[in-house]
Point group: C2
Chain length 145, copies 2
DNA sequence: TGCTTGCCTGGAGTGCACTCCAAGTCTCTA
DNA sequence: TAGAGACTTGGAGTGCACTCCAGGCAAGCA
């Protein structure tokens, strides 16, 4: 269980760690460091690569993964999409389009536009529920007193 | 597959159906009608009852479920909580507290207050991502042209 | 009378997104 | 030189929230 300890220790705040992004050129991170930086587990990072959500990560002379700042930026974006509920399959599709090159601009844009609509719809739902919660909580406040 | 056909036919708009809420006193709905009204499948409605997310629903003389307007209102609230990401286990906990009676006011209020915080946090995340999406989509617009 | 439709039950199956395991390699420190 | 610790792999396991299945019952209609 040693491997996941780093990520687990980070808890809900991924930046509370000694690992900091390094300047481009000297940017080389082990999977454990990336886990600490992103809050993802090393398991999940390998799985992301396996399913094509990340293009193949660079390797050290002995086969260990070495992530760079571009990888970190990509993981941050992926994290955003994930937090806003985009299915992993859609994120993989987006990653594939990116790898395919410039002629997929339109398709990528469409994918993001569709997701933006989803996010907007979701915000509206959350707002409506917030109103319901406010109402109920107020009732409880009044009754408890 | 006859059973789920009603719910499936409803699609994304649960109100596009001939079943309408009836006045209190004449409110008695079969599981199929409730499925059409709520957009949940009959399977899910039975499962909700089994796990205690609904208190035991009334029965007809031959053992079939008969839902009333209170059940419908509860299902609507549950649907809101579900859409805002509350785990089913928490919703079950809330339902249990409700059944336990008035002395659980404070606990119920606390549960809702905590969820409200979650929802607020989530809205903030979605807003931040919306900004990122706007930026990326604009880039694609410029590059594609 | 037979057929269809809608419902009942407990338990098994599904899809998603991880999460862990076993067995091994490599590097570093005591 | 031994041991610890971080890493490697493919494949199996987990938890959640449903979703379906098999076998059966009851009511309405031709």
């Amino acid at each position: 269980m040693t491997e996941t300890a780093a990520a687990a220790g980070v808890g809900d705040c991924a930046s509370r760690t000694s690992v900091r992004p390094r300047p481009d050129g000297q940017d080389s991170y082990t999977i454990g460091e990336v886990a600490a930086l992103t809050g993802l587990s090393a398991h999940t990072l390998r799985w992301y690569e396996r399913i094509g959500l990340m293009s193949r990560v660079g390797r050290s002379h002995n086969g260990q993964r070495r992530y760079d700042n571009d990888d970190l930026r990509w993981l941050e974006f992926v994290g955003r999409l994930r937090l806003t509920g985009m299915p992993v399959a859609d994120m993989v599709r987006y990653a594939e389009l990116l790898r395919e090159g410039d002629h997929t601009f339109a398709a990528r844009q469409e994918l993001l536009v569709r997701h933006r609509e989803e996010v907007r719809r979701h915000i509206a739902e959350l707002r409506a529920t917030l109103a319901v919660l406010d109402f109920k909580i107020e009732i409880y406040g009044g009754s408890a007193r």
